[in-house]
């Protein structure tokens, strides 16, 4: 459905380095990484908001560069909560937004306003953080988008609003025709709803696969401080204190070890990969 190949963008002090991945139709893909790892740069580069130095993007079988307009008609992109034209009433913003989309359906917009309990007469600035995300979703769902790209949609939301958001994402992909790609550093959300995970670290994609595969390929080992030396060479990341250590390892590297092991969650994987060999 959507394919990114070798996307590169150089800044002073940061390089998005040959990012490649695919988004499958009908699934939720979580895009994780620490602050500054390159999540937003990737999303914005692949959609032309930032001009990449090199790389190819294909969507719905079309080349992005030659068919940007056609492709963007089928994609909904939102950078965080809807934070544009905050002095305007939501319905007025929607009216001008709708002009850009051939498949805009006003009945759907009214429907989603009801579903999300949005008051279109309210000014955008008077919406809560959760409402702004929902407004963004209402706009996206009303123009018949097939791919929903959200940059940190759940940051700053309370747990109840976040949970609601995840249910909405699951509803979007329920018919198997639409996909969601969203970046976050709240990995517990992805534990609940993501099918695929992309993990970016210092501008490079270091993990790409189904959530189950990624988790099942890793293990956390625990031991006394003196035993740390036995795993250091193959550990992906290690944490040590005065008495003990814990390390994330590939399961294949840890099966012969007689140390306590535990199944990691996405947060563990992210933290240990980011830490590397450092304490």
């Amino acid at each position: 459905m959507f394919e990114v190949e070798n996307l590169t963008k150089k800044y002073d002090g940061f390089t998005l380095d040959g990012v490649s991945f695919k988004i499958e139709r009908g699934y939720i893909t979580g895009f994780i990484g620490a602050n500054g790892a390159g999540k937003s740069t990737t999303l914005r580069s692949m959609l032309g908001v930032i001009k990449p130095d090199s790389g190819k993007v294909r969507a719905f079988g079309l080349d992005f560069e030659k068919n940007e307009q056609e492709i963007k008609n089928r994609i909904a992109f939102s950078s965080g909560a809807f934070d544009y034209y905050s002095h305007e009433r939501a319905d007025r913003v929607a009216k001008y937004y709708s002009n850009f989309f051939a498949k805009w359906d006003n009945e759907k917009y009214e429907h989603y306003k009801k579903v999300f309990s949005l008051d279109g007469k309210k000014k955008v600035r008077d919406f809560s953080a959760g409402m702004k995300v929902k407004f963004s979703l209402a706009l996206a769902l009303s123009h018949g988008a097939e791919l929903f790209v959200f940059d940190e949609p759940t940051s700053g939301l309370d747990p109840i609003a976040r949970d609601e958001m995840l249910t909405i994402f699951q509803d979007i992909v329920a018919d198997g025709q639409k996909s969601v790609l969203y970046s976050t550093h709240i990995t517990s959300d992805l534990d609940k709803c993501a099918d695929y995970i992309l993990f970016i670290h210092e501008g490079k994609i270091i993990l790409d696969g189904t959530k189950e595969d990624i988790i099942s390929e890793h293990t956390i080992v625990y031991g006394e401080k003196e035993q740390a030396a036995t795993v250091k060479e193959k550990a992906i990341g290690i944490k040590e204190n005065a008495y003990s250590f814990s390390a994330l390892m590939k399961k294949s590297d840890a099966h012969s070890l007689s140390l306590t092991q535990e199944i990691p969650n996405l947060e563990d994987i992210m933290v240990y990969y980011s830490k590397g060999g450092k304490r």
Binding site: I50, Q69, Y85, F100, A102
Partner: protein, 226 residues
Amino acid sequence: MSKNLKRRGTLCAILKKELFLATPLPFYLFALLGLMTAIPSYPIIVGIGYVALAIFNSDGFRRSNRDVEFTCTLPVERKDVVTSKTIFVVVIELLTLVFGVVGALLSVFLSSPNGNVVGLDPNLTFFGVAFSCFGVFNICYIPGYFKTGYKSGIPVLKGTIALLLVYSLVETAVNVVPRFNVIFDSLWGDFVFARAIVLVVGVIAYIILTVVANRIAQKRFEKVSL
């Protein structure tokens, strides 16, 4: 739907957004300052020059609403983002000139028999020069603004300086060369044809400079990362 029709539809959508959503009514009210051409014995270019302030303020408003960034996430071509902005600039400039003409007509009743003693009379020469000044402003401002898509301070400053420079040169020429003063700086009398030529040349210069400004800005904006 053919590609041309689609493109026209998009340009129409982006224009509506540019003129009515991204620019609230108060910014258009700056155009009323064009009426300053009615003030007797006043450097009437000041009223025309307020356009720069209107554009600068509207850019600040757009920046706070992340307008350009929002537009670039929509299904539009970048060159249309530039064209819609250029059209906005042209609309506010022409509106100002329309009010300038209304002011000029009023000045017939308000001005002294000697005409405007501190600058050009609001006649055809003045409007021809005003068109040229706007053209020069546009060639400095529009490509300058689209180097970044959001920074407008320096482009507006450069445009305003260029506008005032062109106007000052004309004023100086009219005041230093007595023959020019007779031909170009009066409301009545002979030489209407000569003054009309200045107007036509001004309009042509305006069109050429604005179209070139738009083209340069389109090329620049293709490479901008927001």
